[in-house]
Symmetry: C2
Subunit: 108 residues, 2 copies
DNA sequence: AGTAAGTACCTTGCATAGCAAGATACTGTG
DNA sequence: CACAGTATCTTGCTATGCAAGGTACTTACT
């Protein structure tokens, strides 16, 4: 898988999963990896960025068989951002597809 | 437009346009910018990379109203790469869309 | 002649995000 | 007690895109 393709996209993936349910980092790796490989060295810095800009808040919760988990929850700003980034991704992907298919009319 | 989304994608865009016709750098900026913003500071290094790895060859051609143009032509390796990267992009985009739509079954 | 705009090529330095590799620490199993 | 699985984190590296700048040719206007 072309690593470069993932740049920026993993962020909207994380936001999108969190829009459906609160998750902890390790869980997110598993969820997203069903579709797209993502490593722990990517997810944790990403989650910290999202917290820094106020798209998520965190809370700790103990786990049965392991260390306690840090759950991430979307804020209202995060929910709005999720919506906007999703739309932007859709527009972008449509533009790329049009280019790859050789459609020359910008109205497509 | 999220700059990060373009990482890696502009390369397949360039290969795809060149698969249809030979182009010079300045022309490629115009062609691709119909759909996706791309700057000259991106295209020239990219074209040089493509030449270094043998996906394109170049030839000079004089121009009526300006300096001579350096045209880029896909090699066989470049054509094969165009095909493979296009398929990879399609798979990737489908994975992202599935994730954003919350489809949980990896069979989708 | 001089100057500006459009064409066409190029480079340098910066910002960003993903990853491999490693560190830390908790729990349950052999 | 060691090991595997869970769970968090950091450091150093890599790749790509961009802004900003430079060079040089041609045409049009003053």
């Amino acid at each position: 898988m072309n690593i470069q393709f993932k740049k920026g996209v993993l962020e909207i993936c994380v936001l999108s999963v969190l829009a459906r349910k609160d998750c902890y980092g390790y869980e997110l790796v598993g969820e997203i990896s069903k579709r797209i490989d993502i490593s722990e060295g990517t997810i944790y810095p990403l989650l910290h960025r999202l917290k820094d800009v106020g798209y998520v808040t965190t809370y700790l919760q103990e786990s049965a068989g392991g260390p306690s988990r840090k759950y991430y929850r979307l804020t209202e700003a995060g929910r709005k951002e999720e919506h906007e980034q999703k739309e932007e991704w859709m527009r972008f992907a449509a533009s790329v597809n049009a280019l790859l298919e050789g459609k020359n009319d910008a109205a497509d």
